[in-house]
């Protein structure tokens, strides 16, 4: 698949004749614009396959029971029904919050960072990854909102003074978190929606007149694809990408500040922000693979999401997984090298204490399993890819569990020590959010274009307006140099004449 063939430059032109690597095609089998439109729109225009219903109905049911029922019980009874007790006030709920918020980061990374770095392969996966971001942040938001205890007082988090004219403590990392997560959700939503407007117009133009056409018409804002619109649109897209890049780095850094600014051994470390951000991207890419590989098979999107895309994502998982592994080891080294007794003891308990199995799961799933991706055949075998992605999903959840529960269960005072175990309410809420995430994603596949139609078309070679100008086309490799010299030469001649 990934074999880049040598492209022999033509001999008719002047200039250096170096062999260059031909760019791998992002869309296979020479598909036309119309084919791309048809194939992506068919996902939402045709009847859904049986598997869609087999996945959707149970996950919607799990969401309704898990989220609906356990939250009703929680609100009507009190947060005591969560298994949290003295010291371990942050149990599964904050673990799940950090887990879900981390999942979202790959979406923004794909849509923003890869856009700024001109990685065109992002176009096939960015829409689904952004949708994943939105849904993951929605799942994440449930946990802290209900963790405040009296959820009807959650408006205390908003920057409004209370009845004694006392404002929020703007110096607290927990309030930074409120601002960071809500900004992240808002900006991701704007980015996702704006990116979808041209594609919604495509669907509008394919619909028969009726309610469907009207709704897609309203949401596509009357988009006409005029260049006077595209010009501003592309600028807005660039700006949003440039705004989202520091934002995505800030969000998980701020989440890590919740831990790092405390004086708890095992949390109070400066490595936390980069370590959390790398872990978030790592876990997020695993989730993109987890949902996109089955969607690709189910809807026959092989020519749009190629093995090249999967290969690239596997390589990013390998890279970020290795960074995460480095962070784990560096934590241990710093604990040892600091000579601080409490710090050393905290890490000794993490590895050999009551949660040793969680630490082992974290290490093997996050550090060892991605190492398979050093081998090319592992990146090409979808079963291996899915297996590793699943391992990473599990490992990243355990990472947060180790950090939160493993630390809080063994703090300074041995009198506070307690082995935490979750209550059924916590467990069912977490399973409920998985159901909610899956059902929202399946609804997304059903109603919205799951691949960015306009941007995918843009990656075709003939989309370049200079495609048939053989002299100018950048994909002619070494010819470019010659063509450029030729152009300079001819321009010089024209100017000399004038």
């Amino acid at each position: 698949m990934a074999s880049a063939t040598e492209h022999a430059p033509s001999t008719t032109r002047q200039g250096p004749k170096l062999p260059v690597l031909e760019r791998e095609k992002l869309i296979l089998n020479g598909r036309s614009y119309h084919w791309i439109t048809d194939r992506i729109c068919s996902v939402l225009e045709n009847r859904q396959p049986l598997l869609w219903w087999l996945l959707f109905l149970p996950s919607a049911l799990i969401a309704a029971i898990g989220v609906g029922l356990s939250l009703t019980y929680l609100v009507s009874t009190g947060v005591g029904v969560w298994g949290m007790s003295n010291r371990t006030f942050w149990g599964w709920d904050i673990t799940n919050f950090v887990f879900w918020i981390g999942i979202g980061h790959a979406g923004t990374l794909i849509s923003a960072v890869l856009f700024l770095t001109r990685q065109n392969w992002r176009t096939s996966i960015n829409r689904a990854a952004e949708a994943m971001t939105i849904f993951a942040v929605m799942c994440a938001g449930i946990f802290p909102a209900f963790h405040v205890g009296r959820v009807w007082m959650a408006w205390f988090l908003a920057p409004i003074p209370n009845s004694n004219a006392i404002w929020q403590n703007f110096k607290s990392p927990l309030l930074w978190d409120v601002f960071a997560v809500s900004t992240y959700f808002t900006i991701s939503l704007i980015f996702w929606y704006l990116g979808m407007v041209p594609d919604l117009a495509t669907i509008r133009d394919r619909c028969k007149p009726g309610l469907r056409k009207m709704l897609y018409g309203i949401f596509s804002l009357g988009w006409r694809g005029g260049n006077r619109q595209w010009s501003h649109y592309e600028m807005a897209y660039l700006l949003l990408a440039a705004l989202s890049t520091p934002l995505v780095l800030s969000v998980h850094s701020v989440v890590s500040f919740d831990f790092a600014t405390s004086v708890v051994p095992g949390w109070h470390t400066t490595i936390f922000p980069p370590y959390f951000v790398a872990g978030a991207i790592f876990g997020g890419f695993a989730m993109v693979l987890t949902i996109m590989v089955p969607a690709r098979q189910l809807y026959g999107l092989h020519d749009l999401i190629t093995m090249k895309h999967i290969d690239n994502m596997a390589k990013i998982i390998l890279l970020t997984g290795t960074i995460v592994g480095y962070a784990y080891l560096m934590e241990l080294f710093v604990a040892y090298y600091s000579g601080a007794l409490y710090e050393m003891e905290a890490f000794r308990i993490r590895i050999t204490g009551p949660y040793w199995w969680a630490y082992l799961a974290m290490m093997s799933c996050n550090v060892l399993s991605p190492q398979l991706f050093w081998w090319k055949w592992c990146r090409e075998n979808l079963w291996v890819v899915m297996g590793v992605a699943m391992c990473v999903n599990i490992g990243m959840w355990f990472e947060r569990f180790v950090i939160i529960v493993g630390t809080l269960g063994r703090m300074f005072l041995p009198g506070d020590w307690k082995t935490y175990s979750p209550s059924w309410v916590e467990v069912s809420l977490f399973i409920g959010t998985i159901g909610m995430f899956l059902s929202l994603f399946l609804l997304f596949l059903r109603f919205l274009p799951c691949i960015n139609i306009a941007e995918v078309k843009w990656t075709l070679l003939e989309s370049d307006p200079h495609f048939d100008d053989k002299h100018d086309h950048p994909d002619h490799g070494a010819d470019v140099v010659a063509a450029y010299q030729h152009e300079l030469h001819s321009k010089g001649a024209v100017e000399a004449k004038a």
Binding site: N169, T183, N227, H232, V254
Partner: protein, 197 residues
């Protein structure tokens, strides 16, 4: 039989490929038309120059929107958590604050680093909203009706066709001349688009 009067919106002509459109756009630009547009299924890079368009002014809006966010974040945090606004004459009574003193963080200017995360997030938030609403204003959207939607072929502009639309309100527009001009520059299936008056 319809008796409504119709008003001519302009001509719509199709071009075979992005590069044909690009070359045609250069000719329309050089012929001096002002009220026209190229409709494409994806953003064709370089078309701005071929159409003689200026760079979008959106970044300026966003810059000032972002700065407003930074200042809002700073003001919100400093006015409620520090005493520094009391330095300004008259502000001492205007802003009544009860700083929360925790973790021995001071209520003076030196506590500013703790405000940076909020200032940063609000910068991004305000910039994002400015981008959204600035973009809609510059694109003159949402606009759900448009004469072009009456065309029988325009629906392909979001699929696989490349169009140039020359509007009748352009001073250089003439029913015969413009049609001939579009034919000369390679336009196919030229259509006179009319809107109901």
């Amino acid at each position: 039989m319809s008796t409504t009067r119709k008003r001519v919106y302009g001509y719509l002509a199709e071009f075979g490929s992005a590069s044909a459109l690009y070359k045609a756009a250069e000719k329309v630009r050089d012929a001096g038309y002002r009220k026209w547009d190229c409709h494409t299924p994806y953003p064709v890079h370089g078309l701005d120059a071929a159409m003689g368009m200026k760079r979008s002014i959106l970044p300026w809006f966003v810059f000032f929107g972002g700065m407003l966010g930074t200042f809002t974040g700073f003001f919100l945090a400093s006015a409620t958590q520090t005493e520094i606004w009391g330095w300004l004459p008259g502000m001492n009574n205007a802003i009544e604050s009860y700083p929360t003193v925790v973790q021995a963080k001071p209520a003076n200017i030196f506590t500013v680093p703790a405000f940076f995360p909020i200032m940063f997030e609000l910068t991004i938030l305000f910039s994002g909203f400015t981008t959204l609403f600035g973009l809609l204003a510059l694109m003159k959207l949402p606009r759900l009706n448009h004469p072009l939607f009456a065309s029988r072929q325009f629906h392909r502009a979001t699929d696989d066709a490349f169009f140039i639309a020359l509007e009748a309100r352009d001073p250089k527009f003439s029913p015969e001349g413009t049609r001939q001009f579009l034919e000369e520059i390679g336009g196919k299936s030229i259509e006179l688009v009319e809107e109901e008056d």
